[in-house]
């Protein structure tokens, strides 16, 4: 097997993850191949249990595969121990679905956001010594939160603002890749547009590579130029977002598209 070319930001081959659940083997991810180039925005869609979150956890180095290999910037990360994953931790950051549970309620916002900068593993990767206060002010401004937000606690903010805090934390180490797992599905529809606009702007302004996991195809259509559709641990359809939407190749993708609720104003 040829070593992957260095110009692929991510490459995965035969990625497999099994769990044991109640004495039963569950195949969460079934021999997935994937490559992603720098600067692209990849959407991963599928129903609960399709393996999409498992896949991004493996890409982020938060979990180890049962079989298969992953490379990031040409370096194999498959079985690297945590202490050698510093470069990945600095370059790849995640935003999770529910900011209520992903932000520590006992920490001030300033400590939450600068926490990645205080990690010894991440610090070693940063070229210059980072002025934490300056970086805090910069990322708070980037996500449109007031400068004094740092002194407050997560519960003092609304759901949309909390998701901005989570995004600011992800931006703090100045990553190359942002992985967002259902970034807007816990938010009100009216707040969703604001957070989607913010993500679009940040990705463009910072040249981020974006990976978005969602069960909502409209969210992915808006944010991503590439799409992977997952079902039962496999990628069953992959291509440019616009062509998959215009001409879905599988019945499953068509079903996902048809299920998106649309305003039905013609009356029932």
């Amino acid at each position: 097997m040829a070593e992957p070319r260095a110009d692929h930001l991510y490459r995965a081959e035969g990625l497999t993850r099994r769990y044991r659940n109640g004495g039963r083997d569950v195949l969460a991810l079934d021999a997935v191949d994937l490559s992603l180039d720098r600067g692209h925005r990849l959407g991963i869609v599928g129903e609960s249990g399709s393996g999409k979150s498992t896949l991004v956890r493996l890409l982020a180095g938060l979990d180890h595969p049962s079989a298969g290999r992953v490379w990031f910037e040409g370096t194999e990360i498959t079985d690297l121990p945590e202490k050698r994953l510093g470069f990945l931790r600095a370059s790849v950051q995640m935003v999770f679905q529910d900011p209520r549970s992903s932000l520590n309620p006992r920490m001030r916002v300033s400590d939450i956001i600068t926490e990645p900068l205080r990690s010894r593993l991440v610090r070693r990767q940063l070229t210059d010594r980072v002025d934490q206060q300056r970086r805090l002010a910069e990322v708070l401004a980037a996500v449109d939160l007031p400068a004094d937000a740092g002194g407050r606690y997560p519960h003092e903010f609304s759901g949309g603002q909390r998701q901005r805090i989570a995004i600011a934390r992800a931006l703090a180490p100045d990553p190359e890749v942002l992985i967002a797992d259902e970034p807007v599905s816990a938010l009100d529809v009216s707040v969703r547009a604001q957070v989607l606009n913010l993500l679009t702007d940040l990705v463009a302004a910072r040249g981020l590579t974006l990976i978005v996991v969602s069960h909502d195809l409209m969210v992915v259509r808006h944010l991503c130029d590439q799409l992977a559709v997952m079902r039962q641990g496999r990628i069953i359809e992959r291509g440019a977002t616009s062509s998959v939407y215009a001409d879905p190749q599988t019945g499953y993708t068509r079903a996902l598209l048809e299920a998106v609720p649309r305003i039905r104003a013609e009356g029932r």
């Binding site: 609960s48 009100d188 529809v189 547009a193 909502d216 409209m218 977002t241 609720p261 649309r262 305003i263």
Partner: protein, 278 residues
């Protein structure tokens, strides 16, 4: 006479009397379906809880809620218990917390029957299984014998729907019933809800922040903002010609499928400056 008549409902909480609902009035005829739209904190859930008589003791309630002719505000617990399940029932957002994790699903549905109709357990099981079948659960016998954690999210939410409908209530209140579900499962549950409401003729008060979801189920809509109703009307009129700037903003943000990918999406702020911040 309308089935539900809410007049100048006001709800505030605690010693500081934080106002959640500030003078809300609306009515609902038998069989009618009314959607209540608003953001978190707009007072929509508190309004629903007031109709169910489920507000906590530290809530101060003023105004009137008449359900089938009887006044709910100030009614004692035993009076409320007779109404709940029989006249009005509720479907909550998160099916995992609405079900007892230690009890088989069939028994939980049967409990509602037993409480209100004193049904014997033998015939009750037949009716439970028929009801589980009616809400579109394949293999209703197996579902009845399962514990909640053995079911998927969509199956659990349909089991709750069965529980809400088994006593043929006049009014079913749904509070964000599909928000925790995948889009495919959501479409299934909404279609089923539409069908069973049609079959039973029950009225429905449907609460959601998602206009698209409300438009799948309801004929009438009201829009809540900061504890008040800012606009109401038919689904057709409200979604095609919204009048209040806040409603216009909500309608614009809900149409993600009409936006050009990657372009800036309209937000509520573009239309209405006084929106609470998200």
């Amino acid at each position: 006479m309308s089935l539900l008549d809410v007049r100048d409902l006001q709800v505030s909480f605690g010693r500081s009397r934080t106002e959640a609902v500030r003078g809300v009035s609306f009515s609902l005829a038998a069989g009618q379906r009314l959607g209540v739209i608003g953001e978190s904190g707009s007072g929509k859930t508190v309004t629903a809880l007031a109709v169910m008589g489920l507000l906590p003791e530290y809530a101060h309630v003023a105004g009137s809620v008449r359900l089938g002719g009887s006044e709910i505000v100030g009614l004692d617990e035993s009076g409320l218990a007779r109404l709940r399940g029989n006249t009005v029932s509720m479907v909550f957002q998160e099916p995992m917390t609405a079900l007892d994790p230690t009890m088989r699903v069939g028994r939980q549905v049967a409990e509602v029957l037993r409480l209100h109709q004193g049904a014997e357990s033998g015939p009750a099981r037949q009716r439970v299984i028929a009801m589980l079948d009616e809400v579109g659960l394949d293999d209703p016998e197996r579902v009845a014998d399962a514990f909640p954690h053995q079911l998927s999210g969509g199956q659990r939410q349909r089991a709750i729907l069965a529980m809400a409908l088994i006593n043929s209530p006049d009014l079913v209140i749904c509070d964000e019933p599909t928000t925790a579900l995948d889009v495919t499962v959501q479409a299934l549950v909404l279609a089923k809800l539409d069908e069973v409401l049609d079959a039973s003729g029950a009225a429905c008060l449907f609460i959601s922040h998602d206009l698209a979801v409300v438009s799948q189920v309801c004929d009438q809509v009201l829009v809540m903002l900061d504890g008040r109703i800012v606009e109401s009307g038919t689904v057709d009129r409200l979604f095609t010609a919204p009048e209040h700037p806040y409603t216009r903003g909500l309608v614009a943000t809900a149409q993600l499928d009409r936006a050009e990918p990657g372009q800036r999406l309209p937000t509520v702020d573009d239309f209405y400056a006084g929106a609470p911040h998200g």
